[in-house]
Symmetry: C2
Subunit: 474 residues, 2 copies
């Protein structure tokens, strides 16, 4: 049964929550008195549609239904998750969360996006709510800080994992939870540096993204320092660097006065740095970068990459059809090139993924490869019949042309969103022993499944384009 999320308060954060649920197949009901809410949330969802599916090499579920409501009761009705993202005023949060607690069923998660308030503050007037604090862009960044009743946060964590997020349950409530304490410490220091003319906003951004920002994105703070300690470990690192904490450069800890001059200085520098791009362009740049980096982390499974791997495993494989559907996914921006269409190498990447999936279908899966057997590709022939664009749906169906002994010849049809064949790939593989790297026949349980496919496919016509050489006419 389709699950339902109720989003109370739109804007960038509420819109991000809406997109995350919607693109994971949930119905989403939005309540927001802002007359611009529908437009604003629509823009966030448009951003999400072009980036979130690009993280995965499988298709996300069909989108749920998105509705907008003027009546809170109607929006909240039957919701499995209600997320409050109204402005950070405690009396407003009390009122909204109190109302929602009355409307919600006892099993509904009521989450607050608050970055500053503790659950004891939110629930001081009887509301049943937990902190579920996200990070912008909510549709891409996995982190959600959960704080509050252990039973409620455990239930929330399970749901969050099912929509590809990473719940971090905070052990004790504390002002600003965890991440925002760090952000605040850095922000404070950055304001001093700008105010004292040590660095501009752009120079500070470079100091972060050219150096430790890259370290933190994949390992965080302590694991990075553990490496710095070398073989002697964390204790050695702390012995070496711990005492620095008492050096003069850590004494500068009072808060700079937030004068108009400081605001103008920073806003002016930020304009100089980035004015050539609109916020919408900056958002797309950020999202493309995040998608590219997170896809890179899938390879090792580190950090956000591990979350993607786990979520992708939980996504449904394509449904069987006349020919097995071996790929079903959205084309990521990173697959396109200077000709503004999918680059030729990624046609082969999609075809290789289809081969991988077909191997799984005949039992030559990851465990099988770990046991020391696999297939190696010896030849590929690709015909490029039509352009494919970023954001398009791509499906691949696979026909077995030959499957006997150590030989396996497959024919992949790459189809665009309308089911039109945009490319074909004929591929010949040999079964190999990974120890000797020499070819050998597969064991009977694999060969049986392969020959069963091959036999079923003998009744099909030889595909247009099979058995051809490059440039062959007619």
């Amino acid at each position: 049964m389709t699950q339902k999320a109720c989003i109370v308060g739109g804007g960038v954060i509420g819109g991000g929550w809406a997109a995350r649920f919607l693109l994971n197949g949930w119905d989403v009901a939005v309540f927001d008195p802002d007359p611009e809410a529908e437009r604003k949330i629509g823009e966030v969802i448009a951003n999400a549609r072009r980036s979130l599916p690009s993280l995965y090499d499988k298709r996300l579920p069909d989108e749920g239904k998105l509705t907008f409501h003027n009546d809170l009761t109607e929006a909240a009705k039957g919701a499995d998750w209600i997320q409050e993202s109204v402005p950070e005023r405690l009396e407003l949060k009390h009122k909204v969360l109190g109302n929602l607690t009355e409307m919600a069923s006892p099993t509904t998660v009521i989450g607050s996006s608050t970055s500053g308030f503790k659950p004891s503050e939110l629930c001081a007037e009887g509301a049943r709510a937990i902190v579920a604090h996200p990070f912008n862009p909510v549709y891409l960044l996995p982190l959600i800080e959960l704080v509050g009743d252990p039973g409620e946060t455990a239930r929330a964590a399970e749901i969050l994992r099912s929509i590809g997020m990473f719940p971090l349950t905070v052990r004790k409530e504390i002002d600003a939870h965890i991440a925002d304490r760090f952000l605040e410490a850095v922000w404070r220091e950055a304001l001093w540096l700008v105010k004292d003319g040590i660095a501009t906003t752009e120079e500070i951004d470079e100091a972060i993204r050219m150096g430790f920002g890259l370290r933190w994105a994949q390992m965080g703070l302590f694991e990075t320092y553990r490496i710095a300690g070398g073989e002697a470990g964390m204790k050695h690192f702390m012995a070496q660097f711990g005492p620095c904490l008492t050096w003069p450069w850590t004494k500068l800890m009072d808060v700079p006065e937030f004068t108009d001059e400081l605001v103008d200085l920073i806003a002016g520098q930020s304009d100089d740095q980035s004015r050539h791009l609109s916020i919408r362009e900056l958002e797309r740049l950020r999202d493309d970068n995040l998608v590219g980096m997170m896809r890179a982390l899938k390879k090792s499974g580190s950090g956000a990459g591990g979350v993607l791997v786990a979520h992708e495993k939980a996504l449904a494989n394509a449904e069987p059809a006349e020919l097995p559907v071996t790929v079903d996914r959205q084309i990521p921006q990173s697959w396109t090139d200077y000709n503004n269409h999918m680059n030729e190498a990624h046609y082969l990447e999609a075809g290789a993924a289809a081969t991988d999936r077909f191997m799984e279908l005949i039992g030559a899966d990851a465990d099988y490869i770990a046991s020391g057997k696999s297939y190696f590709t010896v030849e590929n022939h690709l015909r490029y019949l039509d352009e494919l664009k970023a954001g398009e749906r791509l499906t691949v169906t696979t026909q077995v042309l030959q499957g006997e002994g150590k030989k396996m010849k497959l024919f992949h049809f790459l189809k665009n969103g309308d089911g039109k064949v945009a490319a074909t790939m004929e591929t010949m593989l040999l079964h190999v022993d990974l120890t000797t790297r020499a070819s050998c026949p597969p064991p009977p349980e694999v060969e049986e499944k392969l020959t069963a496919f091959a036999k079923a496919h003998t009744t099909l016509p030889v595909p247009d384009g099979a058995g051809r050489y490059v440039g062959q006419r007619g």
Copy 2:
């Protein structure tokens, strides 16, 4: 003429500097009294060899010569850059930098890796040195903070750019420069969180790398917040969030006492988090992640990706030979797959890069494409003859099989480090008008260059494997 760097003080930082210079073609002379110096620096360089070249899609220059010296004068002789990375004790720095100033020629850059001392402190006893503060791993992270005399830092910046780094010149000297002030602020906050039992070291790492760490790696602090401000810009963001600075959660700014209990608590948690991996394994994981993320950023040119793009442009194109060499590079780890060899799609990626380079050779370069003309691939045939491994050198030579009118048929030979053909790719392209997306003949200046190649190559034998279909015998 080969340039020379003198590295004074080995360890992780000195070794990183050595690797950065060496792999960019510099001779490197190391002075370090530690009897283990050669082993330790060797390990860092081994890490660098498997990761730094993977950032680029062109080959780095031939490595320079690495020597170890017991005599500082000999090590420093004729050096264009001397880098001091001895322990952070001011009297020791005074002594070493004073000696180096006497030995160095007036044009030699004398850089100190100090993270804490200001140039006025370093030079208080007459040394001529600047701060050139790197970030671990020095062979991958581009950032170098330069502080000191404007003439000296300008000269240093030019050299750093030539070895693929990003010099950030700090406007005024200040304790700890820029980045370490942020690291220190976060470190202080993290110590409190662990001490107070709010989060473990692992949870803190997750709070960073699942959220804002990903943002910072590509945009830094201010550009991220600019987006958060939305269309209303940075000023709006500051109006909204500036006042938070006076909230109670920013008051926690005194330094936690560095007791044995705190050290044991943190070291113990870090062990629990990462003990299953050795430091060497953690380093390789970190490096593979950094390479993957930085390669992803090349696509947009953001942050470290922009540095790579600029440096790669400055790298030499492959030398012409009998057949044009269209690719010359090292195979990155990210190109390998579960069979522990280069994945089939990346053979095509290398072949596509060879096609791109050949297009440049006939004048169909980036400007040409921007003017609205290009070539589209319509067919590829790949034969996989041998496995290729991460870290191997890969070269591609290209033979023109057909080049007339709108048709261009190329044959790429993909060769391993020994010059053995590991794969061939036959590729057919059509010249297109990017506006209509329809094929059309190229302009005479392109066609002439193409036909000149085609004519020169008619005397060559038809390559083994050309004009064949998949599975063809003999």
